[in-house]
């Protein structure tokens, strides 16, 4: 320990207090584990309720939500809701999303003419396209600079509105998928019904609850104009933006959207005032994705299946989170060696939150498709960013609201396929035969994500002009460009930046990637559902590979990781691997 570091060791207090304060690796790890335990417990509590929604069993919200759903169904002319096959279901879904997108596009583009608008609020058409696609696809990639350029009206109606629409759509798709497996009438259900149920039974109540909690924690919810404050140091005034933050913040997390009110996202104190709100928001954005995965075991009467899914995703999460944490804890050797960075890499992190809580928050945001951030990813160490990218290249292991269920099933189908072959059985899941058709759509959905990342990445590499980095290209730039497309294709929305993202090229390209990553993938996955929907029998029976066994879990884990890594290894090698080697001075070293 050098003398500078010694000066920072904390003396006095109880033994354990000293121990934890001085051994940050231990205390940080414990904090991360506490977050994971909280996440798991809350997801488990909600999973019972989600199971009831999936199986359309009565719940205690029926008297209120049931009436609202019926009321809106009447308005849509879908009462009683009639079953839709894939084509109708998906086109309804698409049409509904498209109308929401178009209306919000108009609102957004003309926000200077709408309430609270001034000439200051005018955006380029490419940026509006990017923003609207970003929010309607649950991505929430923000190429605009927040929040000064958005009016309260836009924040509330465009942003918050689309946040509800995208989350509800995602959950509706998962309802259709599960219904298709359970039923055998050949239909996926009714989109309007599913959407309304998602909103009024699940997303809206949770959002309301979270809004109240956040309000108590001090998150503002006001329409009053920005505060002008006088900084303690310096001259003049600074604008302190306020606004209807709490509602947006609540749906941002509950709906795994992630696009914050402020540019600094959850790193800004008005969005995330303290460590309790940090934990609360972390739980809020993991509760539905993890809860719906955990509910699958109950839905299909196979406790083992829940355990397998939980085990697999948590293993991925623990691995990537600790990778990031260790990376950040270790910091950058050049700086730590001269004693500047002995606390780890605090660059771009909120001091009130610290390394471990920033890590787990960032990691959770890519573990789900939230993409919220309480720190600046650009300042992460290469290993730290590798842990984050590890989640992104797996298309967000537990996905967003609803989409996680669809994604995990894609991998489950593959694992069942390969492992069934290896034991000489014809593949089937939940007693549903997996034939050429299901594999076809699963393959298509499996390759959609890598192709959506790698193709634009490869093209962009040909255009150094748009990247706009002068001098020798560093591996960090490779990582940044890769991150940009990975986050768009995974509909995640967390941003690394590092280059000018708000330019027509990236605005349009990202927009298209986000649209394809959302709807093309969903179409393939719902096509799998469609071909399952007319198949019977539909009960769990131990005649084939047991998806609840440990061995299957291991296979699933390996399949997910190997397929993910194989698709991206060369880019990872020239990006984060290379920067890591550079930072740690791993020069030509032979092992023999």
């Amino acid at each position: 320990m050098n003398s500078l570091a010694y000066a920072f060791t904390i003396q006095g207090g109880s033994f354990w207090g000293q121990f934890f304060l001085n051994n940050r690796l231990v205390s940080g790890s414990i904090i991360i584990l506490i977050y994971i335990v909280f996440m798991s417990v809350f997801a488990f509590i909600l999973s019972g309720y989600i199971k009831k929604i999936y199986k359309e069993e009565p719940v205690w919200l029926d008297p209120v939500s049931g009436r609202i759903v019926k009321f809106f169904e009447k308005i849509f002319g879908e009462s009683p809701p009639k079953g839709m096959k894939f084509k109708e279901y998906f086109s309804t879904l698409l049409l509904f999303n498209a109308s929401a997108a178009i209306v919000t596009f108009v609102f957004f583009y003309f926000q200077n003419l709408l309430p609270f608008g001034t000439g200051y609020h005018q955006y380029s058409i490419s940026l509006v396209f990017n923003t609207v696609t970003s929010f309607v696809t649950n991505t929430n990639l923000q190429h605009y600079s927040n929040p000064l350029h958005l009016t309260y009206f836009t924040q509330t109606f465009v942003i918050t509105g689309l946040m509800f629409v995208s989350a509800g759509t995602g959950f509706a798709a998962s309802m259709a998928f599960i219904r298709a497996i359970l039923s055998e009438n050949g239909t996926l259900g009714n989109f309007y019904h599913d959407f309304l149920v998602s909103i009024f039974y699940l997303i809206f109540p949770l959002t309301l609850l979270l809004t109240l909690i956040l309000l108590f924690m001090g998150v503002p919810q006001t329409l009053s104009p920005y505060l002008l404050v006088h900084p303690i140091l310096g001259l003049g005034y600074e604008k302190l933006p306020l606004g209807p933050v709490a509602t947006l913040e609540a749906i941002k997390n509950i709906g795994t959207n992630g696009g914050g009110f402020y540019g600094a996202n959850a790193g800004f104190p008005f969005e995330n005032p303290n460590w309790i709100s940090n934990l609360t928001e972390f739980i809020a954005f993991t509760i539905i994705p993890l809860g719906s995965l955990l509910s699958l075991g109950r839905v299909f009467d196979s406790k083992g299946f829940s355990n397998v899914l939980f085990g697999v995703v948590i293993s991925i999460f623990v691995f990537t989170t600790f990778m990031t944490f260790f990376g950040e804890y270790a910091g950058i050797p050049v700086l730590s060696n001269i004693g500047v960075m002995f606390t780890g890499n605090m660059i771009g992190k909120e001091t009130a939150i610290g390394i471990s809580q920033s890590t787990i928050f960032a990691s959770g945001a890519v573990f789900t498709s939230t993409g919220a951030a309480n720190s600046i990813l650009l300042a992460f160490t290469p290993v730290g960013i590798l842990g984050i990218l590890g989640n992104l290249i797996l298309n967000d292991p537990i996905g967003g609201v609803g989409t996680g269920v669809l994604n995990i099933f894609m991998f489950v189908i593959f694992t069942v396929f390969i492992s069934s072959l290896m034991v000489g059985k014809l593949p089937e899941i939940m007693s549903l035969r997996i034939g050429a058709k299901e594999i076809k759509y699963s393959t298509l959905s499996l390759i959609t994500h890598p192709l959506l990342v790698v193709i634009p990445f490869g093209i962009t590499m040909l255009l150094p002009g748009v990247i706009g980095v002068t001098g020798n290209p560093t591996p960090d730039v490779v990582t940044q460009i890769f991150y940009e497309f990975a986050t768009a294709a995974a509909n995640n929305g967390s941003e690394m930046g590092g280059f000018l993202t708000n330019q027509p090229y990236f605005n349009y390209l990202d927009g298209i990637i986000m649209l394809l990553g959302r709807y093309l993938l969903m179409a393939f996955q719902l096509l799998i559902a469609q071909s399952f929907s007319s198949k019977s029998p539909k009960v769990q029976f131990g005649r084939s590979i047991d998806p609840g066994s440990f061995l299957f879990g291991l296979m699933l884990f390996v399949t997910i990781v190997v397929l993910g890594v194989l698709s991206f290894f060369p880019i990872l090698a020239l990006g984060p691997f290379l920067s890591w080697a550079r930072d740690f001075g791993l020069v030509l070293r032979w092992f023999h």
């Binding site: 593959f414 492992s419 000489g424 290209p473 591996p475 190997v562």
Partner: protein, 663 residues
């Protein structure tokens, strides 16, 4: 020598892209080959080094890519060559003969190819039976050695089916033609073997879709690597990218996939089983329940009379005479053995002794046979059947029957003048080796159900002795159907064997139904495979084979994809030696990048060749439970697939360096 030349020629023909486009993995490989040839000839056009050592490397890549495709083609050429041998030998059987066509009483001689379904032909002793048909009159011994290899002629009676190209060795029969020429079993068998290449099973299609998807991803990532390396300031060597692409795409499984399917169909033909489609063989691998007949499958089926037990107050000799009388015209094996046993007691009867009686043959519904003269009936059959028919009971006879049953024998009771006159003990032996096979099925988690017309006690005894899980005693054909339905309701995949017309509905309902060639046309029509040797235990071989095909495919796929990890670790550091810091990825420590890349490609090429025998023979498969099998195969092909290339590439690299290759 000729054969090898033929295989080689056939393999070269396989380079035609018109054949290859069906196999995307090999198609991409061929595309890479063409590209690499162009690069080798005009390296300067691609900004590539033209130094002598690099030229050598380029030429090596061209040769290795060529070999990759060649090895893949050889594997299919071998399996197709084999199927051609099979079809040729089958075709030889299909000789044109002259048939005696009966129209009314008139006999016209027509070539066998002119016969139509429904025609009636007369076959005389020594004739070759012209076409598949059903005996409608007469009986005789037929030599089926041309089809089955069994040289002992078998007896065919009324209602039995006969196969074209077999020879009638005794008597004279009238045969009703059941199949038009071109639709006979031989034709079907030939066309199935021939179509094995063209017709892919749903499972095979699913796998190749998956492989195509993966190939596409690797194609794109390689292309992206091209632009990426240009961006970071490394001039990409297009040849190295080609090698990377070929190393990554699943050439091992992609190259061997067509051969695996064809090999399976060849194998089943070698078993003398006609499967109506490749799909039914794969389905057989997925069976959960197998319904077996006791007689002929579990036991020898040649039930022999071993002892006569006269009822109290019945004279022994008189009883034996009665037994012999009712069995004289009984052509079943039991009947003949009763007459034989009676002869040992010096009771020799001729047909004159039963003049005036009418013979009632055995049927599965009545379960008895015997003689009738007026109201006078002498019948033999199962105790329960006769007890119910005559509404009589006899505690002594019942006791005798029970005693025999407990020993595993079958009791045949005889009723004369409305009273039980005694019991004949029939003995039935377990087939040799059946216990081990049933044990194998149990390990594979396959439930066995035995159906038997015998009573509860015998059935229980045999089931216990042989290790059968469940049995259904006192079975009538409709019961068999019900058993199939019951199992299917529990979502199990059911396989069964049958031969009678009564079995047809059950055969049709079962997922895998195997009919005996000696069975009735209806049964053969309903089944999805027909065994020419009439050996019901062969169903188990087919189940094994079905599993083996699937396992071979799964194992090779896993192996192929697992290999990629090592190849990345060899090729990526070798490609970017410019970034010396990236060398920590070079965990094998291969100093010479070009030799390292060549080693990876050499491994990739020759592992394909090394696995050809496995693709053709199928992976070794021992019956075991699903989880054990999965554990074992994941260890061998998954973990092995990750580690083996690391070891092999290191060895190949060292060998190349040792022999002084300096590129």
């Amino acid at each position: 020598m000729n054969r090898y030349l033929e295989i080689l020629l056939e393999s070269l023909k396989g380079f035609d892209p018109r054949y290859l486009y069906r196999n995307p993995v090999m198609f991409v490989t061929e595309f890479a080959l063409i590209l690499s040839i162009i690069v080798t000839i005009f390296p300067s056009a691609f900004d590539l080094s033209v130094s002598f050592s690099y030229k050598q490397f380029y030429e090596a890549v061209v040769v290795l890519l060529f070999l990759t495709i060649l090895f893949s083609n050889i594997s299919s050429a071998i399996s197709e060559g084999k199927s051609r041998t099979i079809t040729n030998s089958l075709r030889k059987l299909q000789k044109e003969t002259t048939a005696r066509l009966l129209s009314g009483t008139e006999i016209t001689e027509v070539p066998s190819s002119k016969l139509k379904r429904g025609d009636i032909v007369l076959v005389k002793s020594g004739d070759t039976i012209p076409i598949d048909g059903e005996i409608i009159e007469g009986s005789g011994y037929v030599n089926e050695s041309s089809m089955t290899g069994e040289s002992r002629p078998s007896r065919k009676i009324l209602g039995d089916s006969v196969t074209g190209s077999t020879t009638l060795v005794t008597d004279e029969i009238k045969v009703k033609v059941t199949n038009n020429p071109g639709e006979t079993f031989l034709d079907k068998m030939i066309s199935i073997v021939e179509n094995a290449k063209r017709e892919r099973t749903p499972n095979e299609i699913a796998l190749s879709v998956f492989l195509s998807g993966i190939t596409l991803v690797f194609l794109i990532i390689t292309a992206a690597l091209f632009t990426l390396s240009r961006y970071v300031g490394v001039t990409p060597d297009i040849m190295i990218l080609i090698v990377l692409l070929i190393a990554l795409i699943p050439t091992t499984i992609g190259g061997l996939l067509p051969a695996i399917g064809v090999a399976a169909v060849n194998k089943i033909s070698e078993y003398n089983v006609i499967a109506k489609s490749g799909k039914s063989v794969e389905n057989a691998g997925d069976i959960d329940t197998i319904i077996l007949d006791k007689t002929g499958t579990v036991t020898m089926g040649e039930r022999e009379a071993v002892k006569f037990y006269p009822n109290r107050g019945v004279d022994y000799n008189e009883f034996v005479t009665t037994c012999s009388m009712i069995s004289l015209q009984d052509q079943t094996k039991e009947g003949m053995s009763i007459v034989k046993l009676a002869q040992r007691d010096n009771i020799n009867l001729t047909l004159n002794d039963v003049a005036g009686y009418e013979f009632v043959p055995f049927s599965a519904e009545t379960k008895f046979s015997g003689l009738v003269r007026g109201g006078d009936e002498i019948l033999k059959g199962a105790f329960r059947a006769l007890e119910n028919k005559f509404n009589i009971s006899d505690k002594y006879v019942e006791g005798l029957c029970k005693e025999i049953s407990i020993r595993g024998g079958t009791a045949l009771t005889v009723v004369k003048n409305g009273e039980f006159s005694g019991v004949i003990e029939l003995n039935d032996l377990l087939k040799p080796g059946i216990k081990q096979r049933l044990e194998g099925l149990k390990k594979m988690n396959i439930k066995t159900i035995m159906c038997t017309g015998d009573d509860e006690t015998t059935a229980a005894f045999i089931a216990r002795e042989s290790g059968i899980d469940e049995y259904v005693a006192n079975v009538t054909p409709i019961d068999k159907y019900n058993v199939v339905i019951k199992e299917k309701e529990q979502q199990r995949m059911v396989a069964m064997v049958g031969d009678g017309t009564n079995d047809a509905p059950a055969l049709a309902k079962a997922d895998v139904g195997m009919a005996m060639n000696s069975g009735t046309p209806a049964a053969k029509e309903a089944a999805n495979m027909v065994d020419l040797d009439n050996d019901p235990t062969k169903l188990m071989d087919v189940i094994f084979l079905g599993k083996q095909i699937l396992i071979t495919r799964g194992a090779l796929t896993t192996f192929s994809i697992a290999n990629d990890i090592a190849k990345y670790f060899v090729i990526i550091p070798a490609m970017f030696t410019v970034f010396s810091q990236l060398n920590y990825l070079n965990i094998l420590g291969l100093q010479n990048p070009v030799v390292a890349i060549t080693s990876a490609l050499i491994f990739n090429t020759f592992i394909l060749l090394a696995l050809v025998p496995m693709a053709l023979k199928g992976v070794r498969y021992r019956p075991s439970s699903i989880s054990d099998l999965l554990k074992r195969n994941v260890m061998i092909y998954g973990l092995g697939g990750v580690l083996l290339p690391f070891i092999m590439i290191k060895i190949i690299y060292s060998a190349m360096i040792a022999t002084g290759v300096v590129w």
